[in-house]
């Protein structure tokens, strides 16, 4: 089923595989325009899907080297070698990525956050305010889409949030 991989020049195969692993690990997948000469669009989609599925199954099922090799016997030995090399090298990384994904079992999950500290000099009611405000941006993944949530807090509210998070962290620590 990974037959299509053979259309790629053997020198580029390893690089391509590594890029796919990068994509699995949350970085950029390889781009079609770089490989447009090798595959048509349909083929490209197929090869991408197949390769990703293959890597995930191989690492996720915790297959032994023989089992892994069995699945790609139909391929040229050069490609087989490249695949084995790549898988052996990046196995731990892929495993970590998959574990991360399993961890994100709940419906919403915090992906990233950013904060800005602002000093509000005045408001619509008070001319001299001098109040520090924290703008917290949360990137939350909900049903597969990243949803930005922005919260502005003053000192007390921020303290409340930190207290709540610390309490949560304590519970997590107890679990360890």
């Amino acid at each position: 089923m990974l037959r299509l991989l053979e259309k790629l020049p053997p020198g580029q195969a390893l690089e391509f595989l590594h890029k796919i692993v990068d994509g699995i690990c949350g970085r950029a997948y390889p781009r079609y325009q770089d490989y447009g000469s090798a595959w048509s669009l349909t083929e490209w989609m197929e090869v991408l899907e197949e390769t990703v599925a293959y890597f995930k199954t191989a690492v996720g099922r915790n297959m032994s080297d023989e089992e892994v090799a069995e699945q790609v016997t139909e391929l040229n030995s050069n490609y087989q070698e490249a695949i084995t090399k790549c898988l052996k090298g990046r196995k731990e990384e892929i495993r970590n990525a998959l574990v991360e994904r399993v961890n994100a079992i709940s419906s919403t999950q915090l992906q990233d956050f950013d904060w800005q500290l602002k000093l509000a000099l005045s408001s619509d009611k008070i001319s001299m305010l001098q109040m520090p405000l924290l703008n917290l941006d949360l990137d939350v993944r909900e049903n597969g889409e990243i949803k930005p949530i922005s919260i502005e807090m003053n000192k007390e509210e921020l303290q409340n949030l930190i207290n709540a998070l610390e309490a949560a962290n304590k519970v997590v620590l107890q679990l360890k």
Partner: protein
């Protein structure tokens, strides 16, 4: 100032002065602190000057004085230009102290820190770069986006603003498989190239580093506290910990899930299953398939059970082999076997039970699986659909050009159809629209027509209304005229009037002819006189010439000339005299006419000639004058100079008062000189109805009632309609008359003399109250109302005295409106109508009525005009019984109604 003080105190602290923390401003500085601060500053600035000075203020007054003076001179030496002396330190004012301390603080050497050594190393460089950047940004003013130069764009643009988001990085590290090392050496991209966008590299790096650091820290602390205590090598410790964590997690998961009696067929928890359960390969990793939780629970909960069972079986099998014991042990063994068999049986039963349960579970699983399969099929169907769609799209893709062309053709065809449809629609629409417009125009015109008709009908209606009104009016007029006609005596026919009118016309014509004749005669006469005068003049001049020539020679002629001159003179005199006679005659005629006019004006209203015709009166009176001439003779200035008399020439043009003596005579002269006979009218009116009038009370000084105000406006209207020349308006000093006069909106004069009769103790009392409280007074008043004087008040007699100047002024004036009160009006009316003192207090002067008095000879004509505004009656007639002992009912018999 607070900022300044804060800076100042901070600087002083740096100079070594211990400023207590509770002191926040220079105002709170005690003298000791001022001295200490100043001395310390001086010491820092110039040690030579400050060394001999003490920082402590000595207790002795003279020592204090010396120290402060030294300090002041030191400050001056340092260059302090302000006014400084011992008082600056000992008896300091806030302002002076602040100035001095500011000066000293400025003299202090600059702080080392500002230009000093910077922190070395990478962080120092970073900090420097950051501060330089911030300084750069702060140093430039904000510029609107369109005006930015590239430099400003770099500083203030949004180009360098990125979300601070991270992505996982892979960093090369030692260890791991040789393949990994190879990867790091060759294929791995450098860190900045790893994130999808270059801007995400720094946050990603930061994140990774922080994560590593915190992991390291956590491990350190944990190893330091718990790890060492376990006395295990680190790897083992970690392994154990991981095992524990997994167990605990399983425990909690098992608690969270409902228990299930039978384990699944699989033996262990394998990651592949987890992978499957958690959507392996699904890019949308978050969304989990439904129903999988139960499956998961099965896996997690019962993985151990089969192992337990196996163990039990093994134990049982070990127990099975029979032991080769002694014979006597046979029975025992058999018993043991029996027991074992029984146990096995029981176990097997249990096992069978378990299997049955398993079978049930399997059935359940089967049903579940079937459901899943159905679900999967459905999903497959939808996917196939999607696939078909995609395949179609892909099929179309290779022949993109051709397909596009086809598509374009289709599109063009449909657009053409749309165009043709639009054309058709236009074709249909045109006539429809026209029809619509036509109909609308028709409707509009119909509307216009109807509105026009409506207005016509309205106009007609109005006209018919007005016509009906007019008809009614005319009918009334006709009725009135008919009535009048009936009222007229029947015997006087129209012919009489006609004849009389014709006579008058004839007379006029005759008179006109006569006048013409007279005029002609006069002209002829004038002409004759002129010719005669001319002839005379000529004759004289001719004679004069003739005589003058001979006069020198002949004595007689001279005499004759003298006579001629005398004659000439006499003749001129004669002519003059004749002319004078003419003028005198004319004067006499004028005078006679005047006398006749006087007679007509004055004597006509004389009681002697009541009911006589005008001509008769004149003739009769002329005769009477002739009789007077026969009997009387005129007063002579010289001969009668010892007599007392008053001569009035031409009704007040000239007065001659001769030997006027005494009060009565002089009052008479005064009176005669004040009266005049110019035709005029005096209007007398009471004020409008007052609040106290309404309540039936006398006196007081209340305002007008609503009806009173209504009367005031009615009076104003009435006066306006009379068109009176030079009308003077007089009021009293009381509110009700002034309010009435105000409505007239003309200037008015206030007379205190016109105030109402003062009722003394009875002011503002009703007649009933007066009767109740002063019955005797009430009766006495009724006995002689003219002379009765209220206790502490006035009588009518007093009022008449008070009114005399008013009356005199009234005589002098011409048209006057007097707005006054009941008693005052009675007095004035009595004067003009010549009523007696008994009549006076009972004259009827109702409210809201104007009395118009027109003075004529021998009296006044009175016209009473009610202005049609209702008012209470205030007139109280004299009761029959005026005895002091009369009953209350009798006393109040004539009291008018009131509220």
């Amino acid at each position: 100032m607070e900022e300044v003080d804060k800076i100042l105190i901070h600087s002083l602290r740096q100079a070594g002065t211990l400023v207590p923390p509770e002191i926040q401003s220079v105002r709170d500085f005690p003298p000791e602190l001022v001295v200490e601060a100043a001395v310390r500053c001086v010491r820092v600035v110039r040690p030579a000057l400050g060394a001999p000075l003490s920082t402590l203020l000595p207790p002795g007054m003279s020592a204090r004085f010396r120290l402060a003076s030294d300090l002041a001179s030191a400050c001056q030496e340092l260059g302090f230009s302000g006014d400084v002396g011992y008082q600056t330190f000992l008896y300091s004012s806030e302002h002076d102290t602040r100035r001095l301390l500011l000066f000293l603080v400025e003299k202090l050497p600059r702080d080392e820190a500002e230009g000093g050594a910077e922190p070395p190393g990478k962080s120092g460089t970073l900090l420097r770069a950051i501060s330089a950047c911030i300084r750069d940004q702060l140093g430039t003013p904000w510029v609107p986006p369109r005006c930015r130069t590239p430099r400003f764009q770099r500083l203030q643009g949004v180009g360098h603003l990125h979300p601070f988001s991270t992505c996982p990085l892979i960093l090369p590290h030692t260890g791991g498989s040789p393949e990994l090392q190879e990867y790091f050496r060759g294929a791995a991209p450098p860190v900045p190239a790893q994130p999808p966008q270059p801007a995400r590299a720094p946050p990603a790096l930061l994140e990774t580093h922080t994560a590593q650091l915190s992991t390291h820290h956590n491990w350190e602390t944990e190893w330091g506290s718990i790890g060492l205590a376990s006395r295990l090598p680190p790897q083992e410790y970690v392994g154990r910990k991981r095992l524990q964590a997994r167990l605990r997690a399983l425990e909690s998961l098992r608690q969270a899930c409902p228990p299930r009696p039978y384990g699944p067929p699989e033996g262990s928890l394998d990651p592949a299953w987890l992978q499957g359960a958690f959507g392996a390969g699904g890019e949308t990793g978050g969304a989990l398939p439904k129903g999988s939780r139960f499956t998961r629970t099965q896996h997690l909960t019962h993985e151990q059970d089969p192992q337990v069972l196996l163990q039990q079986v093994r134990v049982a099998a070990e127990a099975l082999p029979p032991s080769k014991g002694s014979e006597e042990g046979m029975g025992m063994r058999q018993a043991g076997e029996e027991a074992a068999l029984e146990a096995t049986l029981a176990r097997l039963e249990v096992e069978i039970e378990g299997r049955r349960g398993e079978a049930q579970a399997a059935q359940l699983g089967l049903a579940q699986a079937e459901a899943e399969v159905r679900q999967g099929r459905l999903a497959l169907g939808s996917r196939q659909d999607a696939l078909r769609l995609k395949a179609q799209a892909l099929e179309l893709l290779p022949d993109a050009q051709g397909n596009l062309a086809k598509l374009q053709l289709v599109v063009e065809a449909s657009s053409q159809r749309i165009v043709s449809l639009a054309g058709q629609w236009e074709r249909h629409r045109g006539p429809l629209l026209a029809e619509y417009r036509h109909l609308r125009a028709l409707r509009d015109s119909a509307q216009l027509e109807s509105s026009r008709r409506l207005s016509e009908i309205r106009a007609l209606h109005e006209r018919s209304c007005s016509a009906a009104d007019e008809a009614r009016r005319k009918e009334e007029l006709y009725k009135q005229l008919v009535l009048e006609l009936e009222a007229l005596p029947r015997d006087i026919s129209r012919a009489v009037y006609t004849r009389r009118i014709l006579e008058i016309v004839g007379n006029i014509r005759k008179q006109k002819e006569e006048i013409g004749k007279i005029l002609v005669d006069t002209r002829v006469l004038q002409k004759e006189i002129n010719t005669l005068v001319g002839k005379l003049e000529r004759t004289f001049s001719v004679t004069d010439e003739l005589l003058f020539k001979d006069a020198k020679r002949d004595e007689v002629v001279r005499k004759a000339y003298k006579y001629l001159a005398a004659l000439h003179e006499n003749c001129a005199q004669l002519i003059h005299t004749i002319e004078d006679t003419g003028t005198i005659q004319r004067e006499i005629r004028d005078l006679e006419e005047q006398i006749e006019e006087n007679i007509r004006q004055v004597k006509l209203s004389s009681p002697d000639y009541k009911g006589c015709a005008q001509e008769e009166v004149v003739a009769d009176f002329l005769k009477r004058i002739d009789c007077y001439k026969a009997t009387y003779e005129p007063l002579d200035d010289q001969l009668d100079s010892d007599l007392s008399y008053i001569k009035i020439f031409d009704v007040g043009v000239r007065y001659l008062a001769n030997r006027v003596q005494g009060h009565v005579q002089s009052r008479t002269v005064y009176y005669l000189m004040n009266i005049h006979v110019t035709p005029r009218a005096i209007y007398l009116s009471r004020h409008g109805e007052s609040q106290l009038n309404l309540r039936g009370r006398i006196g007081g000084d209340s305002g007008l009632s609503p009806r009173g105000r209504q009367y005031a406006t009615a009076l104003a209207e009435f006066i306006r309609n009379q068109h009176i020349r030079d009308l003077k308006v007089w009021t009293s000093h009381m509110k009700r008359t002034i309010e009435t006069a105000e409505a007239l909106d003309v200037p008015y004069e206030q007379w205190k003399a016109l105030n109402e009769l003062d009722a003394g103790v009875c002011e503002e009392m009703s007649y009933e109250e007066i009767q109740a409280r002063y019955p005797q007074e009430f009766a006495l008043r009724d006995q002689d109302k003219y002379r009765y004087r209220y206790p502490k008040g006035e009588s009518y007699e007093d009022l008449v005295q008070r009114l005399e100047p008013v009356i005199m002024e009234l005589e002098r004036q011409e048209n006057v409106l007097v707005i006054c009160h009941q008693a005052v009006m009675r007095c004035l009316l009595a004067y003009f109508l010549d009523k007696s003192a008994e009549e006076l207090p009972y004259l009827k002067c109702p409210l809201h009525t104007v009395l118009k008095l027109t003075p004529v000879a021998y009296g006044c004509e009175v016209e009473s005009i009610f202005l049609n505004v209702e008012a209470v009656n205030t007139h109280r007639e004299r009761p029959q019984n005026v005895d002091v002992s009369r009953a209350t009912a009798e006393a109040l018999l004539t009291v008018p109604d009131h509220y």
